[in-house]
């Protein structure tokens, strides 16, 4: 079954008097439990595509079906609700809430789902990523790799059906980046989530089941892994 279906997706921006087409008639589908990488050079539209698929933005035309639900007609708050239920995020620059501890950062998605065991569950997740002894530390007290591990724990907290990762190792050194990559794929397999990964690292892209190469807002080729 397809967890994500994208049909004729187009996104244009107005820049002064000109219209800029960032995505042009993009079509693809992703099966539940599979992994997909979106690869392309800088400015190719891959981040925009990720944002539209995750419901972070609204397309100019076309449709996105997430778990059978069409996102294009939803309000921002409705999409937020979908995100809380179905989606996890891992960002290039970690995007942790600076005023919350590591534990509290991971608790947020659980609290939004009204989980009574939010604290215990968050603790467990952080222990799974090897940060059991850093629960009360703030992001500015953690290294880059540790912050990304917190971000990963948070992404899996609400048991998402689909996980979006935007250049998850982009801000990390090679060694730490490899550790993080392994962690993401291992946890992904454990939880059975669908992983959609944006990267320009072809080695990382090769680890996914499928790859979409995008250039100039158009899909150039889809490669099955």
């Amino acid at each position: 079954m397809n967890i994500l279906s994208v049909e004729n997706l187009t996104k244009t921006y107005r820049s002064g008097n000109r219209e800029l087409t960032v995505l042009d008639q993009v079509n693809f589908e992703v099966e539940q439990g599979k992994t997909l990488s979106i690869v392309g050079p800088s400015g190719s539209g891959k981040t925009t595509l990720l944002g539209l698929c995750a419901g972070l933005d609204v397309a100019s035309s076309g449709s996105v079906l997430m778990d059978g639900k069409p996102l294009e007609n939803m309000t921002e708050d409705q999409r937020a609700g979908i995100r809380n239920q179905l989606v996890g995020f891992i960002f290039q620059n970690f995007q942790l809430l600076q005023t919350l501890t590591a534990l509290e950062n991971v608790m947020v998605p659980l609290e939004l789902k009204k989980r009574k065991d939010a604290k215990e569950k968050a603790k467990e997740l952080l222990e799974n990523v090897g940060l059991g002894d850093r629960l009360t530390h703030y992001p500015n007290q953690l290294s880059g790799g540790e912050q990304q591990r917190v971000s990963i724990a948070r992404a899996f907290a609400n048991e998402p059906k689909i996980l979006f990762a935007d250049e998850p190792t982009g801000n990390l050194d090679t060694e730490t980046g490899e550790l993080i990559e392994n962690l993401i794929f291992n946890l992904n397999e454990q939880h059975g989530t669908t992983l959609i990964l944006v990267t320009h690292d072809l080695e990382l892209a090769a680890r996914t089941h499928h790859s979409l190469h995008i250039k100039g807002g158009k899909i150039q080729e889809a490669i099955n892994g």
Binding site: G51, A80, V87, R154
Partner: protein, 839 residues
Amino acid sequence: MVDWGWSFIMAKREFRKTGAKLILFVSAIVTGIAALVAVTSFGDNLSKDIDNQAKELLGADLLLKKNQTIAFPEIEKIASEHSLEINFASMVYFPKVGDSRLTQVRALEGEFPYYGTLETLPQEAEREFRSGGSKALVEKTLMAQFGAIVGDSVKVGNVTLEIVGALQKVPGQTGITATVAPAVYIPMDQLEASGLVQYGSRVNYNHYFLFSETFDLQGLIDDNKEIWDEDRVNFDTVQSQKESTGRSFENLSNFLTLVAFIAVLLGCVGVGSAVNVFVKEKLPSVAVLRCLGVKALDIIVVYLVQIFFMGLVGSIIGAIAGALLQFLLPLVFSDFLPVEVTVQLAWGAIGVGIVTGVIISILFALIPLLKIRKVSPMMTLRSDDQSGGFGNDPARIFVLFAIIVFILLFSFFLLGKWDQTFWFTGFVVLSFGALWLLAMGVMKAIRTFLPISLNYPVRQALSNLYRPNNQTVSLLATIGLGTAMIGTLFFIQDQLLDEVRFADKEDQPNMLFFDIQTSQVDSMITVLESEGLPILQHVPIITMGVSEVNGLSKMDNEELGDEERRSGSFYNREFRVTYRDSLINTEELVDGVLRPYNAESDSIFVSMEEGYAERNHVNIGDEIVFNVQGRPLTTYVGSIRKVNFRRVSTNFLVVFPDKVLDNAPKFHVLITKTKNDIASANIQNTIVRQFPNVSVVNLSMIVETLEDLLGKIGFVIQFMAFFSILTGILVLISSLLISKFQRVRENILLRTIGAERKVLIKINILEYLFLGSLAAGGGLVLSVLASFLLSYFVFEIAFSLPWQPLFLVFGLITGLTVFLGWINSLNILKANTMDILRT
């Protein structure tokens, strides 16, 4: 549906890290709330004290007064006590220093005041005064002015009295009254010997009565009101005195509360601006929360809860400060208070202050907070500029509207009148609007026109005025408005004093002698001319009243409808008229002609002053029957004159033609011009010694009294306006601290690429020089405009640009801003380069 539980939890977590910043934000409202609570508490306490001490305000149960001799034998029979006070303006002379001054002489018979006392120093002086003999009690300000002590003499008319005590307080009187008309009490049995009550003297006969507790005073008043009205007798009771005193102080209290409210509004502008910066810093976190599935409203509540809490804390701190500050207010207002003020906690005022502070800080914080709704979760992937202008957001416009409505309702709550409410609200909105426009205009102009040829520090300093997280709007609004208030106050004071001083600059009269009897005129003229003084005017004055107007007596007038009825005071007034067939230089004919009286068969045509005629619906051709010392005189209004009452001259509401009143009993006024203050003092003392009944007014005395009076009033308003300035300074300090981290980073980066320390200091100083001078300049433009409008429409005096005070205020405000900016820059430059680059 808001998830309150989660929002509170998040608010608590956020507050751990951001609480200190928010504390800074709300410090701006503390001074305003303190001023508001202090003034409203003081007003509440004063109102209660006026209520409790109402009897002491009058000193008796009933006061009957008239400006002619009158007795009330029937009332004396039923009263428990009766006192008579005869008071009038007269010169008193201090032989020890050889100087004199116009005072209010009060001849007293009886035990008045029955409530309260004549407070004297020494305390036993009152008893000694009442024991009889040639004794006087003199107001303490008068004694201080002439260096008199107990035991010295004071000459009142033809009698010389011993000063047995200094009057500290008289029931119902304030320090202001003592400034304008200091009192000298003399025993009634000395009055005749003084020779001061003569024809034409403006004398008031005050009868004070005390009744038993069960006496039906209202019944007595109801039975006699009409007769008293007919006889032109005015009456006052404890209740009416309480009401009129209460009304005056309510007006004062409301005015000062409005001034304090302006300080609160300024603080809230500071809060709004600081929350704006705070929200901008939080936008990335907001985007993350949106990504995670948090609804916009829940996020707004997270920050609103923190703002509410800090607004509450700030308001409570302000309320506590205000409750303590009110202990100072009796000292500030001491010259205006007719009663002893009991300072105690006024819970109502404290409650109003706290609620006002919380509501207004939430409203102002909502304007930037509502931006959060527009934050897209895409910001997590791509940082966009999420801020939308007002034009894009009806919710923010609604909040702005709610703020204006709140200001409207709050001011109506204080003022009770819609027209005054709209004026005040209009003034506040216009002033804020003007300063906001100035700030936006300056930022746009710099952004558009900043020349690249300017040297780097100047260019950077100017750019800082419009860069993200700038404080230009809030600083211009707060410091600018505070400057506008202080500036207006100084300028108006100056304009009013200049108006009086101007008369001395030209060849205008500056000295006036009045209450001169006909038998004294020639001698006085001889004395003045022997001193080389010109007789600029010699004016005879006759007193009279009105019996009928167009055939209608006072009683007939009372029965007319509201539209047709003339004011009762027209019939009650004692007119002082003169006679001549020409105009003087303070007059201008606006209607009709001056018609002379040549033969007994001629009708008598009088000339009336324009404003008085208008107010009393008197027109050309109207018939007025005057009562001249018991003799009716039929006249017709032949002309209307415009009179400049501000010149030192005898100006009259009614002028008769020559020859009509030649034989009527009269007194005289002589007007002259002296070269300097010494000459004025010399001639004044000479006249007072030789003609003790003659009163003297000289311009320097008017200027001195006015300066004193305006100084006292000005001090009170400056005290309140100070809170606005203090708020502006707090907003400035908090904005410096808020932007400190960003500035530190910038300065470090500049140092890294080679900028010298002195260049960085120069940039900071220039930035605050521009900000300070813009704020001061904007505020001063507003104050010049306000001063012009007040001069033209309220005081009706000429307006001239006050250059000296203008530059002084400008320099002070700009200097203060630059100084604080300089201090801040020294702190910023202490930061360690590597520590910052690592973060």
